[in-house]
């Protein structure tokens, strides 16, 4: 098994490197026009120069701060609403169809409205990110609390642990792996909501720089910032996914 796994990992690296090399060659040989795409190595150089000059530091910070705020709002709010709905089964069953259909409708069409309400800037972006992220956390909080083994709750009751401490000492740890799934999805969705918002209309941000680069035919800025965003997203998503896997293994839930 572990041999197969490493073989798959090697194959994966080979495929990714080969794809990048092919892209590099196609760009260098001018089969892909420079106006369309610059070679991957040049993207790295462009990103390095951007970071070294520090000219977009404010934009990078803007996106990171807003995303953190939106993700925190979705995770805390989503957990709160999820726990509340779990405690009120009738309300929960009544709103469940709304929750399950939420990601089937493009909630993003509310962004123009948020701009009218909050004006162009931070508040509209954070609200958008939180709106896109929160329901994933609600759904996974419900799922996690549902899967707490009843024997644990009964043990707590037998030991006459009060409700609050049961929640903190028993339910939360037992639901942790599923909560982590919620956190992972909430963060990923918040990033998507915020970057999409920055693209459409914003005062600053990584997404705004990419969109500006495109409009100004400034491919070095566009691809440099694009690379930065992809790297950041992959690091965050990868770290959260690894953490989730560890929790699942520890609690034997998967």
């Amino acid at each position: 098994m572990s041999f197969r796994l490493t073989r798959a990992a090697v194959a994966r690296v080979v495929i990714v490197v080969a794809a990048l090399a092919a892209l590099e060659i196609l760009c260098r040989a001018a089969i892909i026009n420079r106006m369309t795409m610059i070679p991957p190595t040049e993207m790295v150089v462009a990103l390095w120069q951007i970071l070294e000059s520090g000219k977009f530091n404010a934009d990078i910070l803007f996106t990171i701060v807003n995303t953190t705020a939106a993700a925190a709002l979705s995770v805390v709010g989503g957990f709160g609403i999820g726990a509340l709905l779990h405690a009120l089964p009738r309300l929960r069953h009544a709103v469940e169809p709304l929750l399950s259909a939420y990601y089937a409708v493009p909630v993003f069409v509310f962004y123009p409205l948020l701009i009218v309400v909050f004006g162009v800037g931070r508040a509209a972006l954070i609200a958008m990110g939180a709106l896109v992220g929160i329901v994933a956390m609600i759904v996974n909080t419900l799922g996690g609390l549902d899967r707490v083994p009843p024997v644990l709750i009964k043990t707590a009751a037998a030991l006459s642990v009060d409700r609050l401490r049961t929640l903190i000492l028993v339910r939360l740890p037992a639901a942790a792996p599923h909560l982590m799934t919620g956190v992972k999805l909430s963060v990923a969705y918040s990033v998507i909501g915020i970057v999409a918002g920055e693209f459409i209309l914003s005062t600053a941000g990584i997404g705004k720089r990419i969109a500006f680069g495109y409009q100004d035919f400034d491919n070095r800025t566009m691809y440099g910032m694009l690379l930065l965003l992809l790297v950041l997203v992959m690091i965050v998503n990868g770290a959260l996914a690894a953490w989730e896997k560890r929790l699942h293994r520890r609690f034997g839930t998967q």
Partner: protein, 244 residues
Amino acid sequence: MKASRFDHVLVLAGLLVIWQAVSLLASPDVVPSPLSAIARAAALLQSENFWKDAANTGRAFALACAIGIFGGACIGFVLGFSRFATEVADPILGTIYSIPKITLYPIILLVFGLTLSAKVAFGVLHGIFPVIIATMAALRNVAPVHRRTARILRLSWAATITTILAPAALPEIFAGVRIGVAVTLLGTLLAELFASSSGVGFALIRAMEIHNVVDIFALAVLIFLFAAAINGLLHFLERKIRHA
């Protein structure tokens, strides 16, 4: 406890009451009342301009769905045929699926220009990955005894797919198709919001620029109804397939 129909109606009524209350508190210039938004939505349904936009978006959406589902299923089948290929491809596809694809739209625009093809390509970029991932997972979950039966019967490669793998995997693939269709709609609309000269997304941006909140709400209501109807239809088909 099973929710009654009454509870669902209550929730809908509650939402409308909240909407109305917010509208009264925040002034109807910022948040229009539900009645005015619904009346405007009904008026839009009778206007020629709206249908022109809807037809534009609809064409891109339908094309993107067709390409995304067909292409995704084909790629999923090719990769899913081999356990090793699945193991190699799964994390790569998962990573691509979770990145904010809007960042890639400028690249698509540079390749296709401001055309219908760009919108379609962006829709496909959204929808194809859930379909590939679901197809691969579905094939992985086909009971080994089915595969062995195919080998014992010495079915050809094509017959194995059409008579064993496809029917066994169809319900799970369909779940991926449902997600794929939803994100394809999102992708098509995002494309129009960012850069386009026609379509429902463009109408939304136009409404935002002139601060016409009633239009924004009316369009959002229509888009939500459309998306919910499609989602409901696909759910219905999925249940049919599962029980067939």
